[in-house]
């Protein structure tokens, strides 16, 4: 996470002059200008990568807007993946998008969270061809639905599997085994 220590003014000045920090600030300003400040919550920079949380209602607009934008040209979808936080009531599932501007070399991480009872996220396949299999993977692993996806079927697991294995309720080993105590090994 971001540095918790008190930073001196000199350090702050040095950080402000750091090109990566400047680019992140520029990108954040761009996001705020294009999509409004209240669209984004939890603005962080863990390990120098600008991370913002938004809502699934806006995510398609944002990724499309960034793809069209000429200032920073954030138009490369590096990867996307699902997440599962069973303890976050109403925000159990998430999708994380990593975007990259190959021209200006600035990366952006976008996150959205939504309830597990309604795991529906707009598809990005109309913007990026590469989203096709990534979304199929997220569906396969987490059961996230992408309306508008041309072919939303399982990709890595077998077709007749009836659960989504990356969800946290599916422990890796048989939970009923008593010969192995779980005290040291695993969660």
């Amino acid at each position: 996470m971001a540095d918790q220590n008190e930073s001196t003014p000199a350090q702050e000045v040095a950080a402000a002059q750091d090109p990566a920090t400047q680019k992140n600030a520029q990108l954040l300003a761009l996001l705020h200008r294009l999509f409004g400040e209240d669209t984004f919550t939890d603005v962080e920079e863990p390990y120098g990568l600008l991370t913002v949380t938004t809502t699934r209602e806006r995510i398609h607009d944002i990724i499309a807007g960034l793809q069209q934008d000429q200032e920073l040209q954030v138009n490369f979808l590096t990867t996307m993946c699902g997440m599962h936080f069973p303890d976050k009531e109403g925000q159990e599932l998430g999708m994380v998008y990593h975007l990259h501007s190959l021209v200006h070399n600035v990366r952006l991480r976008l996150k959205i969270f939504f309830p597990i009872s309604d795991p529906v996220v707009p598809t990005m396949t109309d913007l990026y061809s590469t989203a096709n299999w990534m979304e199929r993977e997220a569906y396969d692993f987490f059961g996230i639905q992408f309306p508008g996806h041309p072919n939303l079927i399982r990709i890595l697991n077998v077709e007749d599997m009836d659960y989504h294995p990356m969800r946290k309720e599916y422990a890796l080993e048989d939970g009923t085994r008593e010969d192995k105590t779980d005290l040291f090994f695993g969660r």
Binding site: C81, I155, P165, G186, R187
Partner: protein, 422 residues
Amino acid sequence: MAVNDTLEGTRKIVEEAEVQRPNLHPLAPSVNDFNQELTTLNLGPTHPATHGIFQNILQMDGERIVSGVPTIGYIHRAFEKIAERRPFYQITPLTDRMNYCSSPINNMGWHMTVEKLLGVEVPKRAQYMRVILMELARISDHLICNGILGVDTGAFTGFLYLMDEREKIYEIYEEVSGARLTTNMGRVGGMERDFTDVAIQKLRAWLKTFPAVMSEFEKMFNRNRIFMDRVVDVGAISAERALNYGFTGPNLRAAGVDYDVRVMNPYSSYQDFEFEIPVGTKGDTYDRFMVRNEEIWQSLRIINQALENLPEGPYHADAPHYYLPPKQAVYKNMEALIYHFKIVMGEIEAPVGEVYHSVEGGNGELGFYLVSDGGRTPYRLHFRRPCFIYYQAYTEMVTGQTLSDAIVTLSSMNVIAGELDA
């Protein structure tokens, strides 16, 4: 538009391909004539030319491919799930088994991800050692790909020459880590041991002999009429489509985009070395072949620079909390024993946070997205596997081409089943 999964979309793609692709034969049947009967052909799952277990169900119109449906996941081993129960150092062997043609890059990429999370600074010597090993891995990866491409076009000789050289690279790995294919090389915080004299000797000897073999290979292939007839203008993809498909690595560079993680986000002291990024123009099979050949030469340059300027000093970080102590010390020294126990049991303290780190793998940007909740294992670990991402363009690239073109296209994309399925 990712529409190639439906028949309607396939028709559209083929129609566009007829207009756009100059390489489609003028006598090729028009796709609008859909009254002719199509043949269904299973390319794979176990086909000698796929070099791995994955299937393509192709709709063929004579010798032309009309559409294809790829099926993957035959060797899916759920690494992302397994990683959620393993301490950080036990995940390294999983990364070995992704792109098994260049395991050291995967290993180092993973170590660097954890180091970034933990805030461990790796000494210069270890960084240079890593660079040498990663570039060796890149060379062996490209040797496989280009050698096999030769085999798939009917030229076995070059492959045999190159396998001999790959064997020598594996011997260097063996001297450094004890393993050959799935290397499990290095540790979080540096390398597990220094280069031995034998390792340096073998490396120097190989650096002397390899360029001659590589030149000979290039002489055999680069301007070979038969080879060029098979690969020029075959399986081409434009830079725009390649970027839209998330291509990285040699396949993207063959299409003319000079994106290389080593240059754009230097890691492990890549900024200290001088090398060039070769790019192609058309993104066809020939360009991919040539880009890989040139990258081998550039990797050799990097290895030579790193070996000449290999700094003195420790080969691992001074981070006893994360780096295993020497075995001798564990028997004699109380602190070493405690650290050994804590590390082996996975009881090291990891900060809460999320980190994305990417390295230039043999096939492109190999990314690790690690979410840590402070526990002994990752809360979530996602691998950005370049093969998985660019293989989905395969159907689009071969639609409208012949079956033999599809084989060489697949071969030149260097799809590694382990990385595809993870």
